[in-house]
């Protein structure tokens, strides 16, 4: 994976020194809060309900064991012994003290990490398919271009004060695990007629207050044109994007108001102007970066022991059925470690758990770890003969929950337990749903189902693209939860449809239970997923499950 060069190292160290000085000046009173706030936000430091929060970038979700151990060290030294993996492949610390933050940033710099541009109206951490470099269906590893984009966008002088934040996601596979259609720019690797890899460029996707599925700006962009083309998109947005209204400032609104054709002609014109200035250095750099992402030396070994362990241990069999994905290398598997134990906080890992995962990556995983936007941790390269040992170690660390892609594998934002913007809590709802379905022992029978919960309209919990989405709101001083159905974050991205009136905190878990149990009766066969059933039948039967009284009344009135 990518290793900082002297330039990166010097840049990050300089930033830490600057921030140390800025904190000192704030504490001494030389800087006002109004002056200090944009400086701390540039370095990922928020002020939340109960404490500061430091958001650390995990570029394209990739970590090595040394970095993971350093995240554990930070959790133990400056936080309360844990960290929270987010829906943008980052990690957040919920309890840092202001005076400690420069030391935290210094400790991050020691392992080639930082918190730069994890806030503010800039290009944020570039996210990527968490199975990058391992997925069986991949055209190419998307991380080299993600790193190229990171270098281009970090401290880019023209793009530090965009109309609003700007998020880019990249995938190298036809199966979209990076939610590219819900990003400001989504890049999906495709091949042209001659078989050469390039990108389908999607623009103007986003969730939040006005959810939009991204539109195709360019069906095929040669790889070599990527930087000038992205530069052109962001330049056009920087000038055209609205600065008069925060809620209309994202590029999705710019695209919506001006039309994709207008945006396309402006971008193409800007691209034609910029392209000649890119004389090839970016491609030399990309070649160097690609060298850092060379695939590991996969080994060839028998897998009989794996099959034997599956036969001998039903718990291992269940876990391997649920938490493994197909790897491109013979004899290998991709391991998803669930950070969603039933009843626990989605995405929270303790320092000890982080160390266990780092050790496993080192011993059995070619030194690689990934953070998924679904708030789990991935060991992308594990040989099948090592899976039983990996499982045993995960079990010891309370990390062997077999629920990837199931009801209890819930995405949840921090909500009003931490976030100053939240309008309701989301974590307790996730905890209660997972606990309830564990009691029912039904989630394996229910099968693939994505529940996503946001504690406010900004949709960090991606509720719009949950098969079941839950949005927490404040209704007259009481927490209230709205349900959306039929959302999908995959390559067939769809925005969920609102089911009807919201539910109180006491009613939301029973409502979800009615919905899921009712689906079992509606599906034609066990392999018809919740989403497929919804697409076949539409909202009405699900609405009847959610609102049984009003459905019964309607029936009585009709009779």
């Amino acid at each position: 994976m990518y290793v900082y060069n002297d330039f990166d190292e010097a840049f990050v160290r300089e930033r830490v020194a600057q921030f140390r000085d800025q904190v000192e000046r704030r504490v001494s009173g030389a800087l006002t809060e109004d002056e200090f706030k944009p400086l701390r936000l540039m370095n990922g430091l928020y002020l939340q309900l109960h404490a500061y929060m430091l958001r650390v970038a995990v570029p394209y979700g990739t970590l090595n064991p040394v970095q993971m151990r350093q995240l554990a060290y930070l959790a133990e030294t400056y936080d309360k012994g844990y960290g929270h993996f987010t829906t943008r492949q980052n990690i957040q610390y919920n309890w840092p003290k202001l005076a400690d933050v420069p030391d935290m940033l210094e400790a991050l710099a020691d392992v080639g990490m930082h918190a730069i541009q994890t806030s503010g109206n800039t290009i944020r951490n570039v996210t990527a398919d968490h199975f990058a470099g391992a997925a069986a269906d991949e055209i190419e590893d998307p991380r080299p271009v993600a790193e190229l984009l990171r270098q281009w966008s970090t401290d880019h002088p023209e793009f530090q004060f965009l109309p609003r934040k700007f998020k880019i996601a990249v995938t190298g596979s036809p199966t979209d695990r990076a939610v590219t259609k819900a990003h400001d720019i989504g890049l999906r690797m495709v091949r042209d007629a001659s078989g050469a890899p390039g990108f389908e460029v999607i623009v103007g996707g986003g969730l939040g207050r006005t959810p939009m599925v991204g539109k195709v700006l360019r069906a095929f962009l040669p790889k070599a044109d990527l930087l000038p083309y992205c530069d052109a998109i962001v330049s056009v947005y920087n000038l055209l994007g609205r600065r008069d209204n925060k809620y209309k400032a994202r590029i999705k609104i710019t695209v919506h108001e001006n039309g994709i054709d207008t945006i396309r002609s402006l971008v193409e014109a800007k691209f034609a102007e910029l392209r000649p200035a890119f004389s090839g250095f970016d491609q030399q750099l990309l070649t160097q970066i690609e060298g850092h992402f060379a695939p590991p030396a996969f080994r060839s070994a028998p897998t009989d022991s794996y099959e034997a362990a599956r036969l001998a241990n039903p718990a291992f069999r269940s876990w391997s059925d649920t938490n493994l994905s197909a790897h491109k290398a013979e004899g290998y598997a991709i391991v998803s470690i669930s950070i969603k134990k039933h009843g626990a906080t989605p995405g929270d890992a303790t320092a000890d758990q982080m160390r266990v995962m780092a050790d496993l990556a080192e011993r059995f995983g070619h030194g690689e770890l990934r953070i998924s936007h679904e708030q789990n941790v991935i060991l992308p390269h594990v040989h099948k003969s090592d899976l039983a040992a990996v499982y045993a170690a995960l079990r010891e660390a309370d990390l062997a929950t077999a629920n990837i892609g199931l009801v209890s594998d819930i995405i949840a934002c921090p909500g009003m337990d931490y976030c100053a913007l939240a309008t309701a809590r989301s974590i307790p709802v996730a905890q209660e749903i997972a606990t309830r379905f564990e009691e029912l022992k039904l989630e394996h029978e229910v099968g693939p189902l994505k529940i996503k919960i946001s504690g406010c309209i900004n949709a960090c919990g991606h509720h719009h693209v949950g098969h079941i989405g839950i949005l927490g709101l404040d209704r007259a001083g009481v927490e209230n939860y709205q349900i959306t159905l039929g959302g999908d974050g995959s390559e067939d991205a769809t925005i969920g449809e609102r089911a009807g009136p919201g539910f109180s905190a006491d009613e939301i878990v029973p409502a979800i239970e009615r919905l899921v149990l009712g689906y079992l009766d509606l599906r034609t066969a066990p392999d018809e997923t919740f989403l497929q059933t919804y697409r076949r039948l539409g909202m009405e039967p699900f609405k009847a499950l959610l609102y049984p009284t009003s459905a019964a009344e309607e029936k009585a009135n009709a009779a």
Partner: protein, 99 residues
């Protein structure tokens, strides 16, 4: 008679720790809302907020929050403000164990 005024407390986040603090009648900042000054007059609230804003070395982002009198002192009205007096609901962290 002026329009009805819901009593208020002045609250902010502590600069160094980031946690919730409330302004007392004798111009101190407390971590216990029960010790806060319950302000029942709108004009007085404005004056007190100005004072709070003039002390940026301790308090970040002071604002007026609705409150009501309780047996031990002021109590929050909105659930957001109630959470600020306690801490998160997923762990025994924050004021629920520290104050």
């Amino acid at each position: 008679m002026s329009r009805h005024f819901t009593p208020k407390v002045i609250t902010a986040n502590d600069l160094m720790l980031g946690d919730a603090i409330w302004l007392t009648e004798d111009d101190r900042w407390t971590r216990d809302i029960a010790q806060a000054e319950l302000i029942e007059d709108e004009a007085h609230a404005t004056i007190r907020l100005l004072l709070a804003q003039a002390r940026p070395e301790i308090a970040v982002g002071p604002y007026l929050a609705d409150a009501k009198p309780g047996a031990a002192g002021p109590q929050p009205i909105h659930f957001r403000e109630a959470f600020r007096t306690r801490g998160p609901s997923n762990y025994a962290h924050g004021k629920q164990v520290e104050v």
